[in-house]
Amino acid sequence: MTNPVVKASGIVKRYGHVTAIDHSDFELYPGEILAVIGDNGAGKSSIVKAICGATIPDEGEILIEGKKVNFTSPIDARDMGIEIVYQNLALSPALSIADNMFTGREIRKEGFLGKFLRMLDKPAMETFAREKLTELGLMTVQSIKQPVETLSGGQRQGVAVARAAAFATKFIIMDEPTAALGVKESRKVLELMKDVKARGIPIILISHNMPHVFEVADRIHVHRLGKRLCTIDPKDYTMSDAVAFMTGAKEPPAEITA
Amino acid sequence: ETGACLITKTDTNPFFVKMKEGALEGAAANGINLSTFAGKYDGDVETQVAAVETCIASGAKGILITPTDSRALAPVVTQAREAGLLVIALDTAFEPADTADATFATDNFKAGVLIGQWAKAKMGADAANAKIALLDLNASEISVDYQRDNGFLQGFGIDIKDPTDIGDEDDPRIVGNDVTNGSPDGGRQAMENLLQIDPEINLVYTINEPAAAGAYEALKAAGKEDGVLIVSVDGGCPGVKDIAGGVIGATSMQFPLLMASKGIEAISAFAADGTKPQNSEGLDFFNTGVELITDAPVDGVPSLTSEEGLNKCWG
């Protein structure tokens, strides 16, 4: 087997009396789509946040491409080409769609204006943003200059997904990227994920939507009570098996538990 | 109709409120249209500068001003004089005093000296073992503050070192300085603090009478109101009543109404025929006088009783 892109072991995170991650392991391999499934509150968001530096774990070790990392902020992760779609989206409500899409990597005008006066090329950013939304089938966004807070729930999620997909170079974490999306828009996101995978960029997908998971995932990480319960191959198990494992209705066979 | 402006330091201090009332009365009597201005707090140079500018713009003939900063206002006042206005400083002189055409003021240092001399005489032999608390205005040590404080100490016979600095003295009789913001709550707190440092304090200098009233409350709460002398400066009517009531031992009375009415007269004369007022002999300002008010007169320091004071007090 190839070397994992991400390898985390023994991660622990506690908040006062509440345990969010309980000695969990995690692996992501090159070029795969890894789905993470589990009950609400199982700790899925917590573990991916620990991987990308959005929370700092109390214990445990994280290796990225074999090198130990100690991210103190998601910016460190981003600088390595890791993009994240957070469950709460992490958009700046009062800024426009284009501004949100480009935070931290704005396009500047050509020539003097851009070089010395550092002027932004707003038309270029707006055109790009509109293109990306259209790719996602979000045809209801009437003005690309709308502040994000005036968008509908699904439109917002579309902005976050488009941003991550456009800029990732190492891997992407998507925390329930289709939760608020409609049928058509969800389909586009799944296509987009396949495209990204085809570009050789692995994806971590957290989702409660079993048909989606079984459609796109190469491997499924089942999370339960703060730790990885098992990893399954979607070709070997059915959706109802996966659901049974994650809700505690069935014990997974010993050979796949981790 | 002749226009004139009165610019006071603040509109919250009764001293300036009375000055304004006096000026408005005088203006009405002399047919002068008086506009009044005030800073927002002691030291508000910006507002006073703006007020002078507005006066110039409004075509007034003269300005009466209590400069909130005797140096900082000089440039704009010079502008006003260049524009042909008569500028008279009230209560506080400019540095140098000839920045204005004339100054009608109390000698704040003298006011301090009077209460210092009185306290020294009153204590007699005990003066050598006095324990003195000094309740000043605030941390920024404006001129009124250091002049009264240092005047008092000099009158009491203490080496004041730098006459523009508060608290640089090293006489062991001084227990300490604290600030009051010139209000009774500040006076009470400052007195409590100094009593904590030395409960034997027997002489208290205060920047003004409200601070003195607060200091008295602190002494009363500590059961020491009888053994301690409190002296102050201002001569507001409540202060004079406090002399009668035994709260304050002596206070130096100033005459804001006089300053104001003199000022108005001067502007009126200037508007009529261009004459400018003269200073008191030997001084670089026109002294509107200070009177010591006390019900326990001592030899060598002329004084008025509180009863006489009540007829002259200004608030």
């Binding site: 506690r14 109802s240 809700t247 209705a249 | 409120v17 608290g167 709550d185 904590q196 440092i197 409200p210």
Partner: protein, 360 residues
């Protein structure tokens, strides 16, 4: 129709084993319960302890620096007494800051109401009790005026109270003619106005009624905020006003009641200040607003609203009082007292933040 089977009311096929899923609330064994760990948990669950700790530390520190004079029962009770007026104001301020507001007019309301009480009782011959009641009603009215602008005209609290501060301040100067009312006149005509100036001794400590009033105000407000539905609503509004409105809280009505109550507390502070200061001076407590806000923030109440216990403000006020007293007794020059208090504010809050972070 290919998806006909999905219409079965039994749900999608992969849900078939759901009825066997686990049914207990999740629990985790937490192994290390070292002392440090337990202290962390304690602080985590009782954030009000943090200002208490800062208070204790600063008491001890000044005990060393300023010596035994500082640590005497008398001096400690004196600090309590000196803090009482600003403390009561801080209680009013806390109420408002918890709703994510800020009130720059608390001190002006307080002084205005003390002037109203004094004018009525001393100069106009109104019985003291009635004068005080009028002052209280005036305080409520002034608070409601703030609240009205904020809820009905939707003005930001900062700008509203900046405006009403000027208004109240002008009114109090006008009513008082910028002149104070003398202590003796109050004693002669309306000594009840000085009720809170009384005190009694216990073992060297002198406890004034105003200090007791302060503690009482805090306890009552704490009860209201933490044990009643009204209090929960106040926190919810400060937390997220829109969410509060959507989840069924009458935010405008609650905010009005908060401002009215804060005005009442300010009027109480005004009454107590007459006893404390001994006279009624329009010049007093000019910086009371900033002082009260300082106490609130040092006490760990978030300026963004919705977080923090009102008791924190009590300890915050005490911390400031201890610093002020300790510095004076250590003989620090006024100028350097200003300097030191600047640093101490920063350091006190830094310690608070640090402890909170460690325990998070």
């Amino acid at each position: 129709m290919s998806d006909a089977t999905d219409k079965a009311s039994e749900g999608q096929s992969f849900e078939q084993n759901l009825d066997q899923s686990a049914k207990e609330v999740a629990q985790f064994k937490v192994k290390n319960t070292s002392l440090l760990n337990r202290i962390q948990h304690l602080l985590h669950n009782n954030p009000t302890l943090v200002p208490v700790i800062v208070l204790v530390i600063s008491l001890i520190a000044f005990g060393f620096i300023a010596g035994s004079k500082f640590f005497s029962a008398f001096n400690l009770s004196l600090i309590l007494q000196q803090v009482s007026i600003i403390g009561i104001l801080a209680a009013a301020q806390s109420l408002i800051i918890i709703t994510a507001g800020i009130d720059l007019s608390v001190a002006a309301i307080m002084v205005l109401m003390s002037v109203v009480m004094g004018n009525l009782a001393v100069f106009m011959g109104v019985p003291s009790g009635l004068a005080i009641l009028t002052g209280m009603a005036g305080g409520v009215g002034a608070g409601l005026m703030n609240g009205w602008f904020i809820t009905k005209i939707k003005l930001p609290p900062f700008i509203t109270t900046l405006g009403t501060w000027s208004i109240f301040y002008a009114l109090l100067l006008w009513l008082s003619g910028a002149q104070s009312i003398r202590g003796q006149d109050i004693d002669a005509n309306a000594s009840f106005l000085k009720f809170f100036g009384q005190s009694f001794n216990i073992g060297g400590a002198r406890i004034t009624f105003s200090a007791i009033l302060m503690v009482l105000v805090f306890v009552v407000l704490w009860y209201m905020l933490n044990k009643t539905a009204w209090g929960r609503h106040v926190y919810a509004i400060g937390d997220d006003k829109e969410a509060a409105e959507m989840s069924g809280i009458r935010t405008d009505r609650t905010l009005l009641s908060v401002y009215g109550l804060a005005g009442l507390v300010c009027a109480f502070a005004g009454w107590a200040s007459i006893g404390r200061v001994g006279s009624i001076s329009p010049q007093s407590f000019y910086e009371g607003n900033l002082d009260s806000i300082t106490a609130v923030v040092i006490g760990g109440i978030s300026l963004f609203g919705g977080r923090g216990s009102i008791m924190g403000a009590l300890f915050g006020a005490l911390i400031v009082g201890v610093f002020r007293s300790g510095l004076r007794l250590s003989g620090v020059d006024v100028l350097w007292q200003v300097f030191a208090i600047g640093w101490l504010i920063i350091i006190a809050v830094a310690i608070d933040q640090w402890i909170r972070r460690v325990s998070a």
